[in-house]
């Protein structure tokens, strides 16, 4: 049963993608219904895994009688299960939202098919124990994302999709070259086995070279700053659900999860890598927030803010103490939920005002209480206003920096968080609290979209509850412990096989 469930996390969405493509032309509603049901099922499955991993720590599924390192094994530990639950929750909410959102477009089945392919790629990356298999799933998710950017058929969306596809493919080539070097060195692709071989062989110049390739490759997928140029463009003219999926799921899974899995559990974190990641994190935080300051387009503003928040997550990973890792994992959750909410809301606001230009939008609160309050909640959580969860995760990361003696990084993180508040206030205050242009309320938010936004708002509002000691230890500490175990991952995997 467990084997079946572990395979189903990527087989189910793949099957649904093809099913939607088959049925979608005939039955108009099939796409949305199948996608929502499938992602709800996936969320249930990942919750089931989450409960199992609390007692068993690590779940392994091998291919028939091939015992790892032979064959492609599936491995789910607490970190991947945590990410899986989060990713599938966001996918579920986005697919419910999409049911009403894509109504004006033609060929809705293509959209839902792409959404399911994306979910398949993301779940595959999270559940696989094989480095090359991780790459294959990463490409599935990425290609689905390029296609989704062009779904609105705006001229700008094709331009953005081309930029995104080229940069992301170059990144994939770097990752692949890194995998080829690692395979040539260790003669294995199983991540646990590779970790054991690398640990036995000591640290060589090759691992340093491969680290550079992986930082470039996964950094591009995570939109860390020297490699971020695709992100704001891809977010501007795509369907509003793409930035919600990308910011909530793809950046976190394809970028942050893969990066931390490879660096912590396979290659082992070293001082040099940690220094480079700290530099990238600081650059990402500062440059992201500086570039967000002058933005007038709502989605570009949120896009640059996403880049800046990714900097916090990478900073926590780079510092690498258990407290910092806890902060990172918590910030992954907070940022996913709050930023998906902001982007879904941006889609609703754009539909209501007919534009995404913040200079032309005013009085969101007057026109719709739901849109206004969800935008306010999301922005408050991103800025880090105390009772909301965003404050706690940022505070943990900053404290961890100071505790680890990285005063400069901690100070910059604190300064950037004030700066974040400044640009959100500057951009959103007139839009939220100004006078509505004609004094009347805009078009009503459709029921599925409203329900999706309300659910995410509730998650943002009550996210701070997760900081209560008992809850934190159940959810986040386990995920952070997987990372702080480092290459103990290898022993965990091979220990569970015995």
């Amino acid at each position: 049963m467990q084997t079946f469930l572990m395979y189903s996390v990527f087989i189910l969405p793949l099957a649904c993608a093809f099913l939607i493509a088959l049925l979608g032309k005939k039955a108009r509603v099939a796409g949305g219904v199948i996608a929502s049901l499938a992602s709800a099922a996936l969320f249930t499955i990942s919750l089931n895994f989450a409960v199992l991993t609390i007692s068993q720590k690590i779940l392994i599924c091998r291919t028939e009688r091939w015992i790892p390192p032979y064959g492609i094994s599936l491995v789910a530990d607490q970190f991947s299960v945590f990410m899986m639950a989060l990713a599938n929750l966001i996918t579920f909410i986005v697919s419910v939202y999409s049911v009403a959102y894509v109504r004006p477009y033609t060929d809705k089945w293509k959209y839902f098919s792409l959404l399911m392919l994306m979910a398949a790629g993301v779940n595959g990356v999270l559940v696989t124990g094989d480095l090359f298999n991780l790459f294959v799933f990463l490409e599935i998710a990425s290609i689905a994302a390029y296609c989704m950017v062009t779904y609105t058929l705006h001229p700008e969306s094709f331009e953005a999709a081309f930029k995104y596809a080229v940069m992301s493919t170059v990144a994939s080539c770097f990752i692949l070259l890194g995998i080829a070097f690692l395979y040539a060195h260790t003669s294995t692709l199983n991540m646990a086995d590779m970790a054991a071989v690398l640990a036995a062989g000591g640290h060589s110049k090759l691992t340093l070279f491969v680290s550079v390739l992986f930082v470039m490759g996964f950094g591009m997928k995570a939109a860390a700053v020297p490699f971020h140029a695709w992100l704001p463009d891809a977010y501007t003219k795509s369907p509003a659900t793409l930035p919600a999926m990308s910011s909530g799921v793809l950046l976190k899974v394809l970028g942050i999860y893969a990066l931390s899995r490879v660096f912590f559990n396979v290659m082992g974190m070293t001082g040099a890598v940690s220094t480079v990641l700290t530099a990238i994190a600081v650059l990402t935080m500062v440059a992201g927030s500086l570039m967000a300051f002058g933005q007038t387009n709502m989605r570009r503003l949120f896009g640059y803010s996403s880049i800046s928040q990714i900097g916090y997550i990478i900073l926590g990973l780079a510092v690498g103490t258990p407290l910092a890792l806890l902060g990172s994992v918590f910030h992954i959750f907070n940022h996913s939920v709050a930023k998906s909410l902001l982007f879904l809301n941006a889609g609703a606001v754009e539909d209501s005002y007919g534009t995404g230009d913040l200079r032309k939008i005013s009085g969101i609160f007057c026109r719709s209480k739901l849109q206004g309050s969800s935008q306010l909640l999301g922005a408050m959580s991103i800025c880090g206003i105390p009772p909301l969860a965003g404050f706690w995760s940022k505070a943990i990361i900053i404290f961890a920096c100071i505790q680890a003696g990285r005063y400069a990084a901690g100070f910059i993180a604190a300064a950037v968080s004030i700066f974040t508040l400044a640009y959100y206030l500057k951009a959103l205050t007139p839009a939220l609290f100004g006078e509505a242009p004609d004094g009347q309320s805009g078009p009503r938010v459709a029921l599925p979209s409203g329900a999706a936004m309300a659910a995410l708002s509730a998650l943002v509002l009550f996210g701070g509850v997760l900081m209560l000691p008992g809850v934190t230890s159940a959810i986040f500490n386990g995920a952070a412990a997987v990372l702080s175990d480092g290459i103990g991952y290898a022993y965990a995997v091979f220990g569970a096989l015995r």
Binding site: F158, E159, A165, T169, V170, S172, L177
Partner: protein, 112 residues
């Protein structure tokens, strides 16, 4: 050794093509070159000098076989490369329809 360096030179050539060329189609070709150089590198890692094909039979001793795993990997990579190229070319066709040019310096409506 020199063959690996040539392979990486091919990778660098593809990267140069992606970074420097202004024509959309030439950029796609550059990506193809990068893809192929990585595929070639994978095959080379499995190569053994005068090795034989990795087919195991009862009467044969396992001596000096080439590594079959990179060959299987390259088959997957070729398919992924095909998917990426198709996506890029499809986007390029639509870009030409909307903008009337393949010059990326003229395809610049998104800024800021």
């Amino acid at each position: 050794m020199s063959i690996y360096i040539l392979c990486l030179a091919l990778f660098a050539l593809g990267l140069y093509c992606v970074v420097r060329k202004r024509n959309v189609i030439k950029i796609i070709i550059g990506i193809g070159i990068m893809d192929y150089s990585v595929n070639l590198f994978f095959v080379l890692t499995g190569y053994r000098r005068s090795g034989r094909s990795p087919i195991f039979a009862a009467d044969q001793a396992i001596t000096n076989m080439v590594d079959p795993l990179p060959q299987a990997i390259v088959l997957v990579l070729i398919v992924i490369g095909l998917a990426v190229t198709l996506t890029l070319v499809a986007i390029a066709i639509r870009i030409y329809e909307k903008y009337g040019t393949f010059d990326i310096t003229k395809i610049n409506r998104l800024r800021g």
